[in-house]
Amino acid sequence: MLVTIDDQTIEVAPETTVLEAIHALGGDVPTLCYDPRQAPFGACRACLVGAEGARGPIPACTTPCRDGMTIDTRDVTARRVVTAVVELVLSELPQPPGAHTELAAVARELGIGDGLRWPGASHERRHDERHPYLALQHELCISCGRCVRACDEVQGAFALTATGRGFSANVTAGLDAGFRDSSCVSCGACADTCPTDAITEITLLNIARTTPGERT
């Protein structure tokens, strides 16, 4: 089938998602909950794009291509919504994300600076560094679900669980027992996929703590 993205047309196989088609053309849109190693999830709404004939912006990661579809990755409404969504995500963090993180990169791409429009309640710092390699920084969790899915879909350890709702949504290892006392096999797939360093490596945390311009 044929889809047109930003005036370029490409032939794609059935079940190709809009995001995959965008990538196939060498393009990109911001994403937070997307990881090519995992099944599409559609939680973060950072990948919204305009689709001709649609009532509003659509998520590129979970929408399958339809023959003759026309996509606008620069759609003004989609951009406005995405910027607001990411700004709201950032507003819940007690500090800006480390410069190397995907969240920081998305914020830069959307032109979101330090001055947020909707300052409000932010998460309280809560760290767990009991594991020799893996650290949890709960206040940085944006509930994208990537760590939980990496644990389930890539490693199959089922050690991580999404907890809480709304503002309290977070992730937990082994029902708060920590990585070591869960079914965790220390593969690190969660830290590898985390877009905010809510789960990261102890060694990287130590580097960030001593590097100017990087914050944890």
């Binding site: 020799p132 879909e153 199959g156 070591r180 593969c187 590898d192 311009g213």
Partner: protein, 696 residues
């Protein structure tokens, strides 16, 4: 991006045979972090706790950073010049007095193909002997032997991708979740998508919980299980007659033998219920595509090589070989155990398993290396130790292998090392083995050198240096070339890529291989001159005369050791997720915090009978040795069997292993050892009924 790292280098993991491609991130000359390469063909953006985290060993304070020379009962730091001079003087003296065959070498299955090839040249050309082996002798030599006999080539018939394409799979004698974690995870995901998995192992391995059927045969009875599966496949009309007729030879004899192995008979031998044998045969036989994976639980037996032949039988009679989803995948143990053998670090073969007696092949190497080469087979590892004890072998050059901790019959190994007049060890740490060395050379870890590793899919992948060898340590290729030069044989390779160019020029199987072509995706041998590689072997014919696969009519034979009144339990040894073989690397990382000891798994029935409680220190005694370790009571192991790993020198599990070995390849029988287990501290007055808490 960020300035957290000074550089990032894509390389290939130096732990197991999966061959994960890794991104090594460097800061201040040290590895800061490792992440999986998203385009790694074997790992697809995933890796395990060894590949990702266990890299701190590379900057351990215990790394060897200068040559050491034995002097007045200890070792002293020496210069490279002194060490090289000492080695060349001693080796020349021994060669002069006793001939080149009084010297033997071991290549390292953790080193690169280029290192192993250079080691082969050092032994064959610079010293003049075929006394060269590598540690595949003690792991998958039976696989190599049997695959060559049955199909023609010594390697997996397919790729890990076949796991995703299969409808069913059998895993026998392997625990991939621990030994090959990334493949283990891949299998687990496949089962969650509907792969019908049958696990066969004396232990109820983790993947058994995701499979449809688990068989627990008595250790050493795999042959009977495979014969029983073949029996049912033949009896119930699940054979692929067209495949047998067109592509194989010897089926009738094999079938006649399998006819004797009824499920009832197999149950008597193995303890596996006959109905489970029937169910497993139907799952495999009825699947559209099915693969068989195996590990050292198949090979490290007296008849290990014969069981691999029987695995090949089952695949051929079912027509399940040579196409996507239907593969035979031996899970090779170390990162480059496939490659070290492919490169000819063996006593009887040059590159690609071509015999040293083959006149044409030998001449091609003579021409290239400019020296006459021996046509006589050299010693295998066990033969080296026998020859050392007998006084025929005077010197050894051991490169990257801790034989005193990992080889069986430790007493004999130590006696052999002590008998030598001269021992060179080339390693990254002092080990049990280096204790007996005369010269120790400080070598490089995989993160510090360039070359290639070949994974369990026959995939040659690039290894690139992320950091420098520490202190005065040097890369293995440089060390081997230096020693060779001192012995009067200049190898003259400018780079590891030049070594590979020579390998390609002299070896049809690797004709189209170059570092440039290997690139980021790797090449699965055989590689044609134009660079076309081979993800799947035997699609049309086998690599044997007439192109026909060979059935083998081999009966079940009892293992070399068996439980008796004095030694009533059977010990199986294996590995745990957190550590890697002798633990030389992983014990020097945070993995030690995750797992800091070995233990003995014992069934609750046996524990109760022997008055052993969970966590108690027990004595484990075999016919040849005794160790002490902690008991853990678990139902994952069958009654009558016990299990432990061998990662810790404090325990030295291999003291228990005798000299029984595979009949064809002398691979030791690590997997069947009769033992007596009892609590170390017996209470002077005790009865279980009154003990609190009660033993249940």
């Amino acid at each position: 991006m960020s300035d957290r790292f000074d550089s990032t280098v894509t390389t290939t993991c130096g732990y197991c045979g999966v061959g994960c491609r890794l991104e090594a991130h460097v800061r201040d000359g040290r590895i800061a972090s490792i992440s999986p390469a998203l385009d790694g063909p074997a790992n697809a953006g995933h890796t395990c706790l060894k590949g990702r985290f266990a890299h701190q060993f590379s900057r351990s304070r215990e790394r060897l950073t200068a040559p050491l020379i034995r002097e007045s009962g200890g070792f002293r730091i020496a210069t490279w010049e002194e060490a090289v001079h000492r080695i060349s003087t001693e080796l020349n003296r021994i060669k002069h007095d006793h001939g080149p065959d009084a010297i033997a070498g071991l290549a390292s299955s953790r080193a690169t193909n280029e290192d192993c090839y250079a080691m082969s040249r050092l032994m064959r050309a610079a010293i003049g002997t075929n006394n060269l082996d590598n540690c595949s002798r003690v792991c998958h030599s039976p696989t190599s032997f049997a695959l060559r006999k049955a199909f023609g080539l010594s390697g997996a018939t397919g790729s890990f991708a076949d796991i995703d394409a299969a409808d069913a799979a059998i895993i026998i004698g392997a625990n991939p979740s621990h030994g090959h974690p990334v493949v283990g995870a891949r299998i687990k995901q496949a089962t969650l998508r509907g792969l019908q998995l049958v696990t066969i192992d004396p232990r109820r391995i983790e993947l058994a919980d995701y499979g449809v059927l688990h068989l627990s045969p008595r250790p050493g009875t795999n042959a009977a299980v495979m014969l029983g599966l073949g029996h049912v496949v033949a009896r119930d009309g699940l054979v692929d007659e067209e495949f047998i007729e067109r592509r194989t030879e010897g089926y009738d004899e094999a079938e006649a033998l399998m006819a004797l192995y009824t499920p009832e008979h197999v149950e008597e031998i193995t303890g596996v219920p006959g109905r489970d044998i029937e169910a497993a045969a139907h799952i495999y036989g009825e699947a559209g595509d099915a693969s068989i994976l195996w590990g050292l639980g198949v090979t490290e037996h007296k008849y290990g090589s014969e069981v691999v032949r029987l695995i090949c039988n089952l695949a051929m009679m079912s027509g399940k070989v040579g196409r996507p989803g239907s593969a035979l995948l031996p899970l090779r143990g170390q990162n480059n155990v496939q490659g070290s053998s492919d490169m000819g670090a063996l006593p009887d073969t040059y590159t690609a398993y071509r015999p040293v007696s083959d006149e044409l092949v030998a001449r091609s190497f003579e021409e290239r290396w400019g020296v006459p080469l021996s046509r006589e087979k050299g010693y295998t590892i066990p033969q080296m130790f026998h020859a050392a004890v007998d006084g025929r072998l005077k010197a050894m050059y051991i490169f990257g292998e801790d034989v005193a901790q990992t080889d069986p019959n430790t007493t004999h190994v130590v006696a052999a090392l002590e008998s030598l007049e001269f021992l060179v060890c080339q390693d990254i740490f002092e080990t049990e083995t280096t204790k007996y060395a005369d010269v120790i050379l400080p070598a490089s870890a995989f993160l510090e050198k360039s070359g290639t590793f070949t994974n369990a899919e026959r995939r040659m992948q690039l290894v690139a240096p992320a950091i420098e060898p520490p202190g005065g340590a040097k890369t293995d290729l440089e060390i081997i070339m230096t020693i060779s030069r001192a012995l009067g044989h200049e190898m003259g390779y400018a780079t590891s890529a030049a070594v590979m160019d020579e390998i390609a020029a002299l070896t049809p199987t690797f004709a189209g291989v170059s570092h440039e072509r290997i690139g980021r995706r790797g090449l699965q041998w055989p590689v044609a001159p134009d660079g076309t590689d081979s993800p799947i072997l035997y699609a049309d014919e086998f690599e044997l005369p007439r192109g026909k696969g060979q059935f083998a009519a081999l009966p079940y034979m009892a293992p070399g050791d068996a439980a008796d009144e004095e030694f009533p339990l059977v010990l199986v040894t294996g590995r745990r997720l957190e550590h890697y073989n002798a633990g030389t690397m992983t014990r020097r990382t945070g993995n030690l915090e995750l797992l800091d000891r070995d233990w003995l798994e014992i069934h609750p029935d046996d524990a109760a009978r022997l008055w052993i409680t969970d966590g108690q220190t027990v004595s484990v005694r075999s016919r040849v040795g005794r160790i002490e370790t902690e008991a853990r009571v678990t139902e994952r192991i069958e009654p009558g069997h016990v299990f432990t790993a061998f990662h810790f020198p404090e325990v030295r599990t291999n003291l228990l292993i005798g000299s029984s070995a595979d009949v064809n390849t002398s691979c030791p029988e690590y997997k069947v050892v009769a033992v007596d287990v009892r609590p170390v501290a017996e209470q002077p007055a005790f009865t279980p009924a009154l003990a609190q808490p009660a033993l249940s």
